[in-house]
Symmetry: D3
Subunit: 319 residues, 6 copies
């Protein structure tokens, strides 16, 4: 498990970090069809899509801005010393091309892309896109049975429907995923839930299915090590997906998102939770709901890619 130099990112000591065509983390751009595609171990993929958004739009611009910010990321993890790009072959696989005016068509395109990725033996690290993105991704990844999931968010995204019967929005992906057998609800934990509520319909579903919800008050009261130990136990040893909605983080630290909820974790805690994902069997991960039009400073994107780097390291700290 040591990587080919072709897959190493450009160093900021060789080329300043503001220079060059911005790929994710300055990795080579290896789209499907590229002759080294099959050699990739972990592929970073953009899904520039927000048609599932019921509130403020913008995550379609997320991958572009996340790539830009990602050129600030260096080679080595600060606290555990891991150098992920030298451990396995990492690459930027490019973006899935969505159809901004057709939700079903877009979901089909996304699933098809991720099927190709899965077949090539590549584990995907996704940059969304709104949270509906996770559904077509899971359709590709859960081919061999339901997955566990560690889910960081301020919302459960477990609603039945919106606007009088609309089944596919960024508030419903995991309801659909449980219904479609893509997730094993007993192995799902949702962390950081907060904010004013419409009603308890999502919570009732979670309770009925056995999904564990850790609300923000419990999160702060117990502390990260304790909460994350429980999370690891819930997800267990089976194949697990990690879904990280940037609105898990307090909107002051991550203003660039469509449905913020005040009173969330700070940026240090945002990283620490990822560092407690060790020992899981992560088959894929995503960072969703980064919305550049509401992120004038670009700081949300920079936090987003800092978290993506943590997720990448967590994917390499397999059991």
């Amino acid at each position: 498990m040591s990587s080919d130099p072709f897959f190493h990112p450009v160093s900021g000591f060789d080329l300043p970090r503001f220079a060059g065509v911005p790929t994710f983390m300055r990795l080579p751009h290896v789209a499907p069809g590229h002759d080294r595609f099959e050699e990739v171990d972990i592929g970073v993929i953009g899904v520039p899509w927000d048609s599932g958004t019921t509130n403020r739009p913008g995550p379609r611009h997320g991958p572009r801005q996340l790539r830009d910010a990602s050129t600030m990321i260096r080679a080595q993890h600060a606290s555990n010393g891991m150098r992920p790009f030298e451990m396995v072959n990492c690459a930027d696989l490019g973006d899935v091309g969505p159809n901004p005016a057709d939700i079903q068509d877009s979901m089909a395109r996304i699933t098809a892309f991720y099927n190709e990725v899965r077949v090539a033996g590549i584990r995907p690290l996704t940059a969304g896109g709104d949270h509906l993105t996770s559904l077509p991704v899971l359709r590709a990844l859960a081919k061999d049975g339901p997955l566990g999931m560690v889910h960081f968010d301020s919302h459960t995204d477990l609603f039945h429907s919106y606007f009088d019967g609309t089944m596919y929005t960024h508030g419903t992906p995991f309801r659909r995923a449980v219904e479609e057998g893509l997730l094993d609800p007993k192995r799902v934990v949702q962390i950081g839930i907060r904010g004013t509520m419409y009603d308890r319909e999502d919570r009732d579903f979670a309770k009925a299915e056995g999904i564990r919800i850790i609300e923000i008050e419990e999160f702060f009261d117990r502390g990260i090590p304790d909460v994350m130990a429980e999370a690891r136990e819930i997800a267990g040893k089976g194949p697990t997906y990690v879904s990280y909605d940037i609105d898990f983080v307090d909107p002051t630290f991550a203003p660039g998102t469509g449905t913020p909820e005040v009173g969330g974790p700070n940026s240090y805690q945002a990283l620490q939770v990822c560092r407690e994902l060790h020992g899981l069997n992560i088959v894929g991960a995503d960072m969703v709901e980064v919305s550049p039009p509401f992120d004038a400073s670009g700081n949300t994107a920079f936090l987003g890619v800092s978290i993506m780097f943590e997720l990448l390291c967590a994917m390499l700290a397999r059991p």
Copy 2:
């Protein structure tokens, strides 16, 4: 034709313009069902919707921001002295509620709302919304036969389809409107067209149907009085719709829009073209593609409502 004081806007001399619940131009909020709805002559309507957007999203936030900016508008036109709110009964009819995750459902909701407006004898002045908005509005207004149209824009919005067969986007509304018999192409004029092009497919359609396109070079070379005289002649005496895409204006003057094209008219010219709409039989008008997430200063919205006030006056300068 003199209006009821109930329908007069609040004066900034009585209540400062930054105060109060922001309705369009400080008019009373008279939604369908309100007991004075039938008395309205001209209704300002918001369509907070952008599902037809193929590029940068945001016009769903347009009506909110346009209402906010509209409280800066006063009672009297600067150059012609017209006091529109004292001439007829004007009101804010509220927003059509769209379904952000279902284009067909949204179009049906919009057409239903405008049918109600038409039946009540109210002429609508619309605040979009992306340009696809005009299609469901025209479906309600063109009940008695195709309309003429004066169309200010940098794009023709006459494309056949996008993304391999998607028929309903903000680049296709007037192609559909011609196909559906809502517009009489011989009575349609498009003014201000410019910007790099994919191909000539839209221009070929226009030519085949007899739609007159006045590109920006011709617009600047001939000058506004001459161009607008031709526009009035093309639209003629029949019922006519006026559609004003804010991206007609140069993006420096109107940055808050999704598909800007540099090299357009300035804000003075943006108003002057409206002042040359006199004598037309305007059955409805719209201001579309104002996108607040790309309008940090709010100046686009202020220009947008300044144009809406001009359109309102033009609607009262009937033949």
Copy 3:
């Protein structure tokens, strides 16, 4: 104590939260004179005024922006399950019209409006306006004797005067209120005080009168439950006002204010303090000093209305 459906806010599941004329929390607009005015239990009122500001201006724009942000608030409290809009009749009473160029005239207008509110048996939840706003409000509310007060702020607002004898500024309201017998200083607690100081003149007054000041260091050292238990004890069972200056919160979380002081509570703490107001007899509350011109992202306003929702719930958790 269950509310009339007329007074329920519009749900985001029925109409997207970015749509519609923005009233506070999507409640009906019931201005004085409206035929259901007398039925209101809690009225949300805007006071768009900042003539008392000695430093950076802008709170006159607060109510408008707070209304806009408030459409993100849903029906149910996240942690205690309270659904306030179903418990009592809530409404947006509109704005008090100030005179931006005359302080005394404005104060008279505000007191007159609140007298009308008090006489109708409505408890007011105010959106300021600068902090001088609290003085004319208290003049209406303290008709039956001095009130207690829980006051969140980074400043005491207890100064004698500014600029060589100017008695009415946003730095002096509570000095005046004590002098006028509107507040019982023994039942007043000020929480979160910090920042560089001119001198100790305000602290000396507080000490002499028996006002309890809890500075930020004590606040952080003791923790919220302990501090707030003392606050409840100080305010006691008598009628109490809650005044919440947004600059209580750290300016990173609430940049949109005129006189920020670094080193304050975060957004989670900003909410938690409100949740510890249970058991008080709250006769009115305000959220002041939200200044949109210094709040490019609108996040201050969103935090402001999130706090207002907490205050509303606290007003319903009476003894």
Copy 4:
């Protein structure tokens, strides 16, 4: 008429323009009381005040931001080659200290300061401040009889009163100035007037008094040389004041102002009108209504000081 090197600004070739304590145009700071105060010929003065503002506040921050931007100004006029700082002694006289919470007190302070300036034989070039600023300045300058005025603005500022009898606002200064005999209405010309109107009360006053109003349509139709020739004729050879409200310029070029009106002159025209002020006997000039909170980029201030440099040169092109 050649200046002392003490009064020369620092060159950007010696010290970069972003460096140093920012005084107006990098001139020495010579406040009243300074031992070289009497030697000053033209004094640049800040009036950080906006209590007369009836709409969006902010001009109190104007002088600070104008000073910052002014360090970009160099020594020589681009087209006429004039080097004003070498012709006469120029200095930054500092700010008049206003009382933000007392209009009458502030006006008294301003008049007192300008009296001192006048007595010292210094001609003032003022950086406001809202437009009410001009009134207390004129009270000092018109000691020997009424002045003529060339007034660039989108508003006449000739209203009788606001809000039911408030006489001193930024919409009334020149009504007061005429009433007080500070201006000779026959020698006053207002250029660039536009925007929606409350009513014609200000125009009626102008007509009755003989004030010449050149509305924007006439301005554009006739062109600058013709309009300005008339302006020079109106002002004549007597002592004349020049008042330049930044909202004369189109708000796209000068967004940082409180009461913008779209459809105004561009930045080239904004400078050209000043170049046509030659031959007047200018006893003072001001640049008002620059409002930094609405000028995120700082470009309004940079245009403002560019105009101030033009005004300075015009003051030196005396008859």
Copy 5:
């Protein structure tokens, strides 16, 4: 002269314009060493460098932002119908890696890169970078003798030195280029010059060498066709470089630059001047001084790439 499909940009009808890794105009990334490098006819190159900046920094971020904005550019010119990407092989050659802390090292790196480009027979279209960038580029391109130059700018960039003897800044490149024999001063024309001046040292040099300066007043008075006819005559039939400093354009249209001068051309004029470059023998062109930190909206970059597309077309309209 028809291009290989490998070199065609991705269409926005196939992949939305906000999607994908952002290369210049969605062209393939063909860095030196790529196996198709030799086939490129016109190469777009980024020079992310601003060490020559004497005022506000930032152009080092220009290429990144210009690439981002360039994905809005489509395939066909609006007015002349040219489809440049189908005429010759165009590609994004990537960035030259500068040394931000060493000017001489950076200039050597740039010249080396452009030598490689020249040797490969590629004509370069450069995205700077500050204006010093042009000097090391000219050192590579003028190998066979001095070039003519059409130069759009508000400054002459002809100064001898800054800060007591510093010879290489963005204010001196063309002085050096003339001294080094890279430019033939008789074939150089500078258009749009304006702004306050330090002194006439640059103008004296121009006069002595025979460089033609067309100041902004002359530019506006004569009009674009006349001015550009003279420019074409001056440059003549010999090999010519086109250097376009974004500060040629008025800073309202292009705020993202370090040394703005008010009173310049608008965006329509900014494009039109390029359309009058036909018939020249253009060996290279650049767009410099785009500074993203001062371009919050990104509109400067969008105008910049719109101009770059015009320059590209001009390079193909050879004699």
Copy 6:
């Protein structure tokens, strides 16, 4: 040790804080050569310079913006009651004039300025500038032997070189300072270090030399009192420099900086660490890397000057 009234700052009760020429903390401007220069005890100095920046530029604008924000600082420390401006003579010494296009020349100018300051017996409090600024300052201050240093930062700034041999950048100042004998590595402590890493080259140097690095995890785990007690012990009783890089603070609290690292201290902690510097023998201190172009709100500068006020108080709490 009580100060002369000449050296007292203007009070905000006398002159509003937004008024006046902005010097540091409203102190008198006493540049070298001023006749009271020798009387100054602590001098605040700007170093507007960022030529050592390898990533995003901008700190050259730091002193200007810090001065502007500093007018919000009042006379007395909030928690310890210290009134520093009454204890010793403080003044704004102005800016060192750098050469933005020549690093070595700039460093020589800075050292010369600080030599003059040291000779006059003035202790400097510096507002940078990028972190390379500290090197030429230390060259002046460490004339009598190596200093100890308490260093707050997210980076060690101990690298050997960048870009293939460039020795002087903002990532290398303390490597050079140790090599030049300006710092005693055994008396140096670096606090807050975090972020992804290139490699361990800097850490190896620190270890070899005996520099103590306290990474962010240790900082948060141990708490401020414990960490700072160790810091005081390391620095000891000898002459000590305090260097405070604003990127020590989390970038949400201090976005205006060039090389942010997420997951840092909040603003309260940013102040508290300074309050634990008592008992040290501080010969100088700096606040560096404040970058206004990335600080749209100005909040970074306000936090920066709040920290500078704390550093000033720490300089007066000598042993």
